[in-house]
Symmetry: C2
Subunit: 372 residues, 2 copies
């Protein structure tokens, strides 16, 4: 297993920077100071942001050091914290299977994909302030819900609470100019797993014309441990063949590809219900970052952008319950009975392994009833 | 004129906190320390965030003090900075005239308003990292543009660069629970003018199904000076009569209303082209905040939410060039020739005055060509 970076405490005091390898953690804050490393001031905690801002040369130096140092703290003895301070959070929509499935479920009879889908990686801003670390309970949100046949919306707890299994990319080095495809790894520090919790009934009623808002903004969970992008070099792969021409800023045919061969795992109440293949994503994270910045939007350390729900073509490769239950029609067998959407008390775990053997940090969350 | 709060420098060194009255500024950082005021540590700069977080009792104490102290620095001698650190930025869509006009221009033949519009204040998250202070030049963004008749999108500078005249509300006191209508002024510190620059051709091509993204994310300008909410007490007014029933969390018939009687002014190249009346907004900022938090989304100090484009019913009360030119059909006379959308070099100034005589800080911006 490659090393992963995070923020942790073992008792009182502010979070320190830790490096996890399997089930042990190295206290990097302590080690860097004890060894008088030149980057010690960047790993004082409470978040990874100063280290993330320092850039690839420093990241490589740290990786080299931690490969020699022994992690001595048992993982079970540490309390993980949100590993980085989130600046802006953007969520993309880059799985063709997922986008087409959602189109078929929400807009039956129409084209499954909107006309812009093959021309640009569709994305939107989410709520940075409600990104939470793995292990944080998720309270069932309330809001306005209206089924197509209801005469008016009603208010109450969502009846269609869902997950979205995603991969998130964390920006380290800021940018004031557009980031071309080839500069992706000069800006992105690492990779997290991300669960973009979604209240489908709230979302369906609110999202036309300005996009998802309260259906998503109550919570987004990220793994406590960030896998450095460099650890995934051996998992790079070519994305699926493009079925339409790309504008030059998105055309990656001449550059080393930024597809990643990761297999995700969605576990619901102890049962693995899906294994979404990240290599099927139509748009790569390098294309997402190029698109996000091409209009002149600047990047800050801590900017987080997520892939969108990862869904493969097979029935057991879907990254949301919306798709797995086909809009609530089919039941899914879990370790605590059959489900269409999430019930109170349900626990979701996302995991991912790359073809080069590297694992991403897992992301877990349990549903708490409203008012509990 | 009521006092306004901001961050400023006069030479080198980090920004200090200033209080503007007309054309003079009080150095609050210095005055609070010299007078040994108990809140002195909250106004050390470089932003208003610590003061904003302290709550209404401290805000009132500061207002009382600054009413007695003489502002001695000429406004022309200070350089203003972004007055607060933006946490999350949300943009609403709460003018019925504006929403109906956009519907008529973009979706002719359909219903002007989407079916949810009278049930909830529609909103979405924008990019916090590209909120800039008044006076910052705005570089014309590039992106994918596709007119309905074009066979494919092309890439280049936007041809339909627009403004949106809005009023922004700045959260001071965080919240971990929904904020009911009656608690609005326990959380909101103050009010800014806001120009939500918009690239209409980029936006039109990208926004279905997940909402505006690159058409907005390149820049959002806010006034350098924040007017305390309490200074607008005398401008409170009842919002327009609601034409549909409201769910209880949005029903403000039993509470003192949070409509505000402000007249905005849109100046383009020295010519006032519009005077949008804020009192015509269908949804009040208190309803916006109640909606934003009703799903359990938490609030942070520095959260900024904007009203959406303010447009009145008359032709000279529209808050965007999209509406003033009716989708580019009609020309608008300005001090530098006729316009439909913005040309390079154009300067936009937004101002606002309340019925109680209080003025909001103005927000200005000049368009720079791409690559200049």
């Amino acid at each position: 297993m490659a090393e992963q970076y995070g923020a942790f405490t073992t008792g009182t005091g502010p979070p320190r920077i830790g490096v996890r390898t399997d089930d042990h953690v190295l206290d990097l804050t302590e080690a860097a100071h004890a060894q008088r490393r030149p980057y010690a001031h960047l790993v004082e905690g409470p978040t990874l942001n100063p280290l993330m801002a320092a850039g690839p040369e420093v990241w490589a130096q740290v990786r080299e050091d931690v490969g020699r140092w022994e992690p001595t703290i048992a993982l079970s003895d540490v309390t993980p914290h949100l590993p980085f301070e989130v600046a802006d959070y953007v969520d993309f929509y880059s799985s063709e299977n997922h986008a087409a499935n959602v189109g078929r479920i929400f807009r039956p009879g129409g084209d499954p994909l909107p006309p812009n889908w093959k021309h640009l990686p569709i994305g939107y801003h989410g709520r940075a302030g409600t990104v939470v670390v793995s292990g944080t309970d998720v309270v069932r949100p309330r809001g306005q819900r209206k089924a197509p046949d209801d005469p008016a919306p009603t208010f109450g707890p969502t009846r269609r609470l869902d997950i979205e299994a995603e991969v998130g990319f964390v920006v380290g080095v800021p940018a004031t100019r557009p980031v071309p495809l080839g500069d992706f790894d000069r800006h992105v520090f690492g990779v997290v797993l991300l669960n973009d919790w979604s209240a489908r009934d709230i979302q369906a009623w609110e999202y036309v014309p300005l996009g998802p808002f309260l259906g998503k903004s109550f919570a987004t969970s990220v793994s406590a441990w960030v896998t450095p992008l460099a650890a995934l070099d051996g998992a790079r792969t070519r994305p699926p063949a493009r079925t339409g021409p790309l504008l030059p800023y998105l055309d990656d045919t001449g550059t080393p590809p930024w597809g990643l061969d990761l297999t995700l795992e969605v576990e619901l109440n102890g049962t693995v219900v899906s294994r979404p293949p990240f290599a099927t994503m139509y748009w790569t994270p390098a294309q997402q970052l190029a698109h996000l910045t091409v209009n002149g939007a600047t990047l800050r350390t801590g900017d987080l952008f997520a892939s969108g729900t990862v869904s493969g073509p097979a029935k057991d490769e879907l990254g949301s319950l919306l798709e797995l239950s086909w809009g609530g029609r089919d039941e899914i067998a879990t370790g605590a009975g059959k489900r269409t959407f999430l019930e109170d008390g349900d626990e979701v775990v996302l995991r991912a392994t790359a073809t080069n053997g590297v694992r991403l940090g897992e992301v877990t969350g349990r549903i708490r009833p409203h008012g509990a």
